[in-house]
């Protein structure tokens, strides 16, 4: 057993030794140790280099607030966690930890030796030093800084761990299972109300774990704790979650909570099932929240306060009482608060020689003096520390009377325990948008006005005594029980003896700092911000605390200033010569402690990251070698390459087959809405630019939809199935917004119309067949539909059966060829597709994807909303005035079409482009110029919206929008692309079969 492990006591299991390594060196610890306590038990204090100055740092706390002892934990491939607090990492057998911010090693670190040491690294150095010359940033400063700075290294592999999430609803959520939280849980649970109690530690108890000598109602505190735990665990309405942090407090008592499930178990790498969860996200909605989040001890700000071995006084007490570890053989205490005496007395009781207690206060209670005297501990009243020594661990301090740099006395020690009072942990309360009030007696802010149904109890509310925590916790629990409907709840009161000491703090001692003496006096240990830095920020003109925070970066590290914020405020207040209450507060934001991306993502990763919508033939396409592309949420076949074909060759083949025989394509992704009711036609009259009243039953029409602003919103073919029933189609990605828009007008603007809307996108599979042989292919398999050219013309819809399956058969075309769209119930989509493929063999039927679809429609000059349009095109811009019902009194967007700028003569208009060189395929999005000129700024007259190689025409074609384009037919224009200027001619956008003869066969 090491000399620093006590002979007895603590909550570690002395029978279960564990091996671990730090920077490759092997050590032994015990079950129940934290990494920090295990290192201290081995006499290791120096565990890190600081972020900015690369100063040696030790372990400065025993808990969540740790700002110095940040290490990397290696749990196997892809499981490397950076900046883990050694104080919260539970020890497991085989744990591998390593130090950060040092190269090549912790003890010999280049960063600490270079000029990047102190003088250039003054505050605001990020903003000032690297401003000039510009190129130096990229080539010199940044690479050096990236090597030297940063918060450890991130793993490069994918995170192999599993994470889950759960929604939970409860009557009372209690955050913190110290005395206040436990008393609240006991009281609240009596009513049978549903209670969730969370605590970030591996066991419940909070401060009770540090106070084995206290007695609650005559019972030893640890026995009381065990009894309480047993009682709560036996209640079916109570859920206790340990290793669980409430990290964010959101609207209406919605709390984000992370439960760590396996970081304490060691590597999951060899777990065969790979099902062990690492963390679970609890999304808790609580009727009432009891905040029992405790308080955090403040460091004292004095010269050289950051050497390894210097820590918060309560940390030494925790290491001793909870882990059975002495932080040194000759610790020294510096304080301005009574609570530090507790640490000195507990250590002395355990046989440790306390070097001295240096108390900044001139006067203290006689009881303390008496007790120290009994224990043989010297007290230096009205003194402070002006210097500390020790390269990799503190070995002595120089003490002097407060405010002086004389009468210096050197005191040897191997640890310094500091206490500057206590700061209630109001982080979650503040996140809930509650407001705080300043208390001079404790020198801290406490909760004041609540905006949510919550209450704060115990130390987080400024009540530091264990008895106060228990009794106020019980009251809060009782209130919660009553509001949850408890009939006759029992009130409880607790009596505590031997509870931990506390005291007020003299006003002049709040956030006191001293820069007298040699060495830097640190405020923010993680970001290396000193008291002088804050003073300098104020001198440089930063007067708002939010600006001071950002300029100095104090409180902006991963610990979010848990130990530094209040000291920083007090120092700023002194520099600004304004009372602390007028300096203001910085904002508390979630998360309370660092939270993994993995747990926030939860199940939403890989295939579950987002919904993938699949059409009925998606599997068939997959089996037949389709290359897919995402279209909105849909996974659509892009083209179907045969062995050895590239996309260009496949598309050429697909297009040729469609123009000469038959192409088949899955158009199921088109949005589909059934519009039904006596006023269905009138409804469509108002929604679309086109007129609908006179559309005959069994006929279709291309419909164009505008926004109220007059710009094209969506388009699609609408078929009239009967007087009162329309089958509307929309673009693939526009379907949800078209449906929402139609519902909006139906419900809120025209509630008098008798019309009903149903989304039928998922109900109907759509197989588009295009090409001169299509009629010949399908006619034999269709029943109940007359196929003769005159009775079933282009732009018509019929209902019947195909392969014995009901169909809504559209005669429409998006390719310019004879076209039919076979709508069948989705479940039959694949079957009908396969039968058509089989029957189509004799016509050499070819499946095609979105690429050929785009190509074929571009040859016909058919626009795609969202490709030719970008939300600023009118029907006239697209040459589609023919789609406007001129006689209609109104439709959505009509009024905007006559605004003056909508009628301007030089608006961008849709045109076709033929390149002078047939083989140049223009870049989509490329800018168009009227002249070949390098004069800057060049005058752009438009841009390319679609561009393809046309196999049919054996020529590159493009669609574009150009200023006043329709009046410029035949003009030569120039397209600017990376290779130079490419000349092209403005032509009609319909490249192929302008008379439309192929449609009407």
């Amino acid at each position: 057993m090491s000399e620093f492990r006590t002979a007895k006591g603590g909550r570690i299991c002395r029978k279960t030794p564990l091996n671990f390594s730090f920077d490759g060196q092997s050590y032994a610890g015990l079950q129940g140790d934290s990494l920090a306590s295990a290192l201290l038990a081995n006499g290791v204090h120096f565990v890190a280099r600081s972020y900015k100055y690369h100063r040696p740092r030790g372990i400065m706390s025993a808990g969540t607030e740790e700002a110095s002892a940040l290490v990397g934990i290696d749990r196997g491939k892809g499981r490397f966690d950076t900046s883990t607090r050694a104080t919260t990492q539970e020890l497991f057998d085989g744990l591998k930890a390593q130090s950060q911010h040092c190269w090549p090693s912790l003890k010999f670190d280049v960063g600490a030796l270079t000029a990047l040491g102190s003088p250039v690294m003054s505050t605001g150095f990020y903003y000032k030093t690297f401003m000039w010359p510009k190129a130096f940033w990229e080539w010199v400063y940044e690479p050096i800084l990236r090597n030297l700075a940063g918060l450890g290294r991130a793993p490069k592999e994918m995170d192999p761990d599993n994470y889950s999430s759960i929604h939970a609803h409860c009557d009372v959520l209690i955050i913190g299972a110290g005395p206040a939280g436990l008393a609240a849980a006991l009281a609240a649970s009596q009513s049978g109300s549903k209670v969730i109690l969370v605590d970030e530690n591996n066991e419940i108890g909070g401060d009770l774990l540090n106070c084995p000598i206290a007695q609650i109602d005559g019972t030893n505190s640890w026995d009381w704790l065990a009894e309480t735990e047993k009682q709560l665990a036996s209640l079916p309405n109570v859920t206790i979650l340990t290793r669980t942090t409430a990290f964010g407090y959101y609207d209406q008592n919605f709390i984000g909570v992370v439960q760590k499930l396996s970081d304490h178990l060691g590597s999951l790498e060899n777990k065969p099932d790979n099902k062990t969860l690492r963390e679970r996200l609890w999304k808790v909605r609580a009727k009432r929240v009891v905040l029992a989040t405790g308080s955090i001890e403040r460091p004292l700000v004095f010269a050289g306060n950051d050497r390894p071995g210097i820590m918060l006084a309560t940390a030494a007490k925790t290491f001793l009482n909870r882990y059975g570890v002495k932080v040194g053989n000759r610790p020294l205490v510096i304080t301005n608060h009574d609570s530090a005496y507790e640490s000195a007395f507990d250590l002395a009781e355990a046989g440790v020689e306390v070097a001295a207690i240096i108390d900044r206060r001139a006067k203290i209670s006689s009881k303390l003096v008496e007790q120290a005297g009994k224990m043989g501990i010297e007290i230096l009243l009205g003194h402070t520390i002006v210097q500390t020594s020790g390269k990799h661990r503190v070995c002595s301090v120089r003490a002097a009377p407060v405010g002086e740099n004389a009468s210096i006395r050197k005191i040897k020690c191997d640890a310094v325990l500091m206490c500057g009072g206590w700061t209630p942990s109001v982080h979650l309360f503040s996140q809930s948008r509650g407001t705080l009030t300043w208390r001079d007696d404790i020198g801290a802010y406490v909760p004041n006005n609540y905006t949510q149904d919550a209450t704060s109890v115990g130390a987080c509310n400024g009540d530091f005594l264990m008895s106060q925590s228990l009794n106020k916790g019980a009251v809060a629990g009782l209130e919660a029980a009553v509001s949850a409907g408890a009939k006759a709840p029992k009130s409880t009161s607790y009596k505590v003896v031997n509870e931990a000491l506390t005291s007020d703090i003299p006003v002049e001692e709040i956030g006191i700092f001293s820069t007298i003496g040699e060495g830097k006096a640190f405020v923010d240990f993680q970001h290396d911000v000193t008291a002088k830095d804050i003073g300098q920020a104020v001198r440089e003109g930063f007067h708002s605390i939010e600006h001071i925070k950002r300029f100095t970066t104090t409180g902006m590290a991963t610990d979010q200033g848990k130990t530094s914020n209040l000291n920083g405020l007090a120092i700023a207040s002194a520099a600004l010569e304004r009372p602390i209450t007028e300096v203001g507060l910085t904002t508390f934001r979630p998360p309370y402690t660092p939270t993994s991306f993995g747990v926030l993502a939860g199940y939403s990763r890989g295939d579950l990251f987002d919904v993938t919508r699949k059409s009925p033939t998606e599997k068939w396409a997959e089996q037949n070698g389709a290359v897919f592309e995402p279209v909105g949420l849909w996974r659509r076949a892009r083209y179907f390459p045969k062995t050895g074909e590239n996309m260009h060759e496949a598309v050429a083949r697909e297009c040729k087959a469609t123009r000469t025989s038959i192409g088949i394509s899955d158009a199921s992704t088109l949005g589909k809405i059934e519009v039904v009711g006596p006023d269905a036609a009138e409804f469509l009259n108002r929604i679309y630019t086109n007129p609908w009243s006179k559309l005959g039953v069994g006929r279709c029409r291309y419909g164009l939809m505008l926004g109220e602003d007059g710009y094209i919103f969506d388009d699609g073919v609408v078929g009239r199935l009967s007087e009162d029933r329309f089958h509307v189609t929309t673009t693939t990605s526009g379907a949800p917004r078209v449906f929402a828009r139609m519902e909006d007008y139906r419900q809120t603007e025209w509630p008098e119309l008798k019309v009903w809307l149903t989304s039928i996108t998922e109900q109907w599979a759509v197989i588009a067949l295009n090409g001169p042989n299509v009629r010949k292919l399908i006619e034999p398999f269709v029943e109940g539909i007359d196929f003769s050219k005159d009775t079933f013309p282009h732009m018509a819809i019929r209902e019947g059966m195909i392969f014995g399956v009901p169909t809504r058969l559209f005669r429409v075309s998006f390719t310019g060829e004879l076209g039919f769209e076979v709508n069948v119930p989705s479940a039959y989509g694949l079957g009908v597709w396969q039968r058509l493929m089989e029957a189509g063999k004799k016509f050499d039927i070819v499946p095609y994807g979105t690429e050929s679809l785009h190509m074929l429609r571009a040859e016909k000059g058919y626009i795609i909303v969202g490709q030719e349009t970008d939300g600023t095109q009118t029907p006239d811009d697209m040459g589609m005035n023919w789609a406007i019902g001129k006689k209609k009194q109104d439709f959505i967007g009509k009024r905007s079409l006559v605004r003056s700028d909508m009628l301007a003569p030089n608006r961008k208009q849709l045109v076709g482009l033929m390149t002078n060189d047939a083989n140049i395929v223009l870049d989509e999005g490329a800018q168009i110029m009227g002249e070949k000129s390098n004069v800057i700024p060049a005058k752009m007259i438009g841009h390319i919206t679609s561009s393809y190689w046309s196999e049919t025409l054996q020529h590159s074609i493009a669609l574009a929008i150009i200023d006043g384009g329709r009046a410029r037919m035949g003009e030569e224009i120039y397209i600017s692309m990376p290779g130079g200027f490419y000349p092209a001619r403005i032509v009609d956008p319909v490249f192929y079969d302008p008379e439309g003869e192929r449609l009407n066969v």
């Binding site: 609207d251 602003d709 929402a740 909006d744 419900q747 809120t748 009024r895």
Partner: protein
């Protein structure tokens, strides 16, 4: 995440089921073509954009599919009242009542 009381479902449902649909109580003119450019501009573009109590439209998109109106404090984000579309704008007294 806020809870929103859908006046049609008559249930408090989480915010993710809803989408915001702009300012409430802006009626589409009966005959837009009879409006001057200024009147149409005002309907099309001008919104009150006040901080504090505001009247909004919400769409229970992943629920009943109904549009409804809400009185909300857009500073505290809190919903004060929700009511069916077409119903009159609540009076100050009603809003005060709901707040207390």
């Amino acid at each position: 995440m806020l809870l929103i009381d859908c006046p049609y479902c008559k249930e408090m449902r989480p915010e993710v089921e809803f989408s915001h649909a702009g300012e409430a109580h802006i009626d589409r003119p009966a005959d837009p073509s009879s409006l001057s450019d200024e009147e149409w501009e005002s309907f099309l573009f001008l919104r009150s954009n006040r901080a504090g109590i505001c009247f909004e439209r919400w769409y229970h998109i992943h629920g009943c599919g109904r549009y409804f109106n809400a009185v909300r404090n857009n500073v505290s984000e809190k919903f004060i009242l929700t009511y069916p579309a077409g119903q009159k704008r609540p009076s100050d007294a009603q809003i005060k009542g709901a707040l207390s």
